[in-house]
């Protein structure tokens, strides 16, 4: 399947944030979105998710425009993985994942046995079974992020939109999440991921889109897009890109 954004203008009334952006995500690949704070990443993918109205251009799934889709149909196609946060009520991990099934229920529906089984399977996929009965408000930030990914898996959507899934996580948890991102690609999900770390794009991205001042600077293979020149220009810092070993590229900033 193909999620296609073409010539999109996104933003708020009288204040466009993103201008004329086009890209596509295909099932089984991860498109990483990089750009400085305020470059429009969040606005862009909130528009893709249908949480913000688009100003111009089109967003389509396999050629069908999503503008008029009801929430349920959108949610059956696109799942959102927000940054881990704490809700005001102490739901269990199991309940949080089960909430993904809302996309497949009517307004007055409640999850059936089948939905519970799907949620349990998603919990198992993310290796969270020992935590299933724990309160979501009491587990660690890294675990919460994995729970939110499990929830997106249980939503059984074709595309996952992940908002900086590794921010606020310690090094070990970042690696866990990166591994899961690769697994999700292998399972055939199409992923749209934002990050601040070029290294993570080198590790997981099929393709990279670089956003600056609300416009697409470049899009393509990570090695072609994430060059020293382009990154220095976009972020305004000096940096070096080097291959630690073949196929393992890193980006290191220079402090003076």
């Amino acid at each position: 399947m193909k999620l296609e954004v073409s010539h999109a203008r996104c933003g708020y009334p009288g204040h466009p944030v993103v201008e004329d952006v086009s890209f596509a995500v295909i099932s089984g690949e991860a498109l990483y979105l990089l750009g400085p704070n305020g470059s429009g990443k969040t606005t862009l993918f909130k528009t893709v998710l249908g949480l913000l109205p688009r100003k111009r251009g089109s967003i389509s799934i396999d050629g069908r425009d999503t503008a008029s889709w009801p929430r349920r149909r959108l949610a059956q196609t696109l799942a959102y993985v927000p940054q881990a946060h704490t809700p005001p009520f102490p739901f269990t991990v199991r309940d949080v994942v089960l909430m993904a099934r809302t996309a497949h229920l009517g307004m007055f529906g409640t999850p059936a046995h089948r939905d519970v089984a799907i949620a349990e399977e998603a919990i198992d996929t993310l290796g969270l079974t020992p935590l299933a009965g724990a309160r979501y408000t009491e587990i660690s930030g890294g675990e919460r992020q994995l729970v939110l990914i499990a929830r997106a898996v249980a939503q059984q959507s074709d595309f996952l939109v992940l908002d900086e899934p590794t921010s606020n996580l310690d090094f070990g948890n970042q690696v866990k999440v990166l591994k899961k991102i690769r697994e999700l690609m292998a399972r055939g999900f199409g992923l749209l991921v934002t990050t601040h770390l070029p290294d993570h794009a080198f590790l997981c991205a099929s393709r990279v889109a670089l956003l600056h001042h609300g416009r697409l600077v470049d899009i393509g293979n990570p090695n072609d897009v994430l060059t020293e020149a382009q990154l220095e220009r976009t972020y305004g810092v000096k940096l070096r890109i080097a291959d630690v070993e073949p196929g393992l590229r890193v980006c290191v900033p220079l402090l003076n």
């Binding site: 927000p82 809700p87 102490p90 269990t92 909430m99 809302t102 229920l105 307004m107 919990i123």
Partner: protein, 342 residues
């Protein structure tokens, strides 16, 4: 997978057990309340009442005309206010929210005060109270909808609700100030304190329809209420039509609040305390929390009303009892809860 299935089943049976226990508690309290009273009704009269209502005599009439309507009203009001409070805490994502947050109770209070001021009869008071309760919330929602550009729709609603509520509270004061201090002022004051002492079968008929119209949709929406706890954007991304959902919940909760104020006056704290207590017992999942709140709320209101009619020779207004018990009890819950707003 088998262990997972096992724990799922365990969690579910724990919920069922809690609901059954609350149900039994409710039945016991309801039965106790029905037998409690100055007029002792022997068990034989109950049988007669069921088998041949015409031959039950005066004790039967007392049960049918006074005690049973009062108990039924207590159940409806306790259940309605608690369900409204639980649902509001979900849509406003805040456990400190009570059903009067959008100004409904203040509006209903003003309607009643105005009706008493103009010398309307009981039906007039109830209708005015109900209508002004709805009107106040409608005003809040209309104003909030016009303020859409302010951003967070929930915060806007709460702020406007506080404003509308305080306007109607001021209008209540105005009505009191204008009222005849020897006849109407005490009537308004007493009415605002809340009481079930004057409930008759007709009042019950008045409240039954709005209560049912409020409770049934809320119960049907119990799963979607869970999703709202994650906030507007996430709930929408999960497939919930948050806007429509919020309006339905507000309509239902307003019907429940306005109907209960209309027949019983201001009965405070129930809608805030009971959902908390229920959440401590069964957890935050609305599939269990909502029925648990309904059962607990009905039991709690019956108990407080039992106190209201038996502690002193004269009846104590119910609103005073619910506040006297509710506020300290809430403090106790806050101190006991080690995990924040459980």
């Amino acid at each position: 997978m088998t262990t997972a299935a096992h724990t799922v089943a365990a969690a579910r049976s724990r919920h069922t057990a809690a609901l059954v226990a609350l149900g039994v508690l409710f039945v016991v309290i309801a039965w106790g309340s029905a037998t409690l009273g100055r007029y002792d009704v022997p068990l034989a009269t109950w049988w007669k009442l069921i088998l041949a209502p015409d031959e039950a005599g005066i004790p039967g009439q007392i049960l049918l005309q006074v005690r049973l309507p009062r108990i039924a009203a207590g159940i409806l009001i306790g259940a309605g206010l608690s369900a409204a409070g639980a649902a509001y805490q979900g849509i406003f994502r805040n456990p400190m929210v009570s059903p009067d947050i959008l100004g409904g109770s203040a509006g209903a209070g003003f309607g009643a005060a105005a009706a008493i001021l103009y010398g309307l009869n009981v039906v007039g008071i109830q209708v005015m109270s109900f209508v002004f309760g709805l009107l106040a919330v409608l005003l809040t929602c209309a104003a909030a909808a016009r303020l859409k550009r302010m951003g967070d729709p929930i915060l806007t609603l709460v702020l406007v609700g506080i404003l509308v509520g305080s306007v109607f509270t001021a209008l209540v004061s105005l009505a009191k100030y204008a009222a005849d201090p020897y006849s109407k002022l005490p009537a308004i004051t007493l009415w605002l304190m809340g009481s079930l002492s004057a409930i008759n079968p007709k009042d019950l008929g008045f409240a039954l329809l709005p209560m049912a119209l409020g409770l049934v949709p809320l119960y049907l929406l119990r799963w979607n209420l869970n999703v709202l706890a994650f906030g507007e954007e996430e709930a929408r991304a999960l497939g919930a039509e948050t806007g429509r959902l919020r309006w339905i919940v507000i309509c239902c909760a307003t019907l429940l609040t306005a109907a209960s104020v209309a027949i019983a006056g201001m009965v405070g704290w129930v809608g805030l305390v009971i959902p908390h207590l229920a959440r401590m017992i069964v957890g935050p999942d609305y599939r269990v929390l909502l029925p648990a709140s309904i059962l607990l709320g009905a039991s709690y209101l019956l108990l407080t009303d039992d106190l209201a009619r038996s502690v002193m020779a004269n009846e104590i207004p119910l609103g005073i009892i619910t506040a006297l018990i509710g506020a300290p009890f809430f403090l106790y819950l806050m101190m006991r809860s080690q995990r924040g707003w459980v």
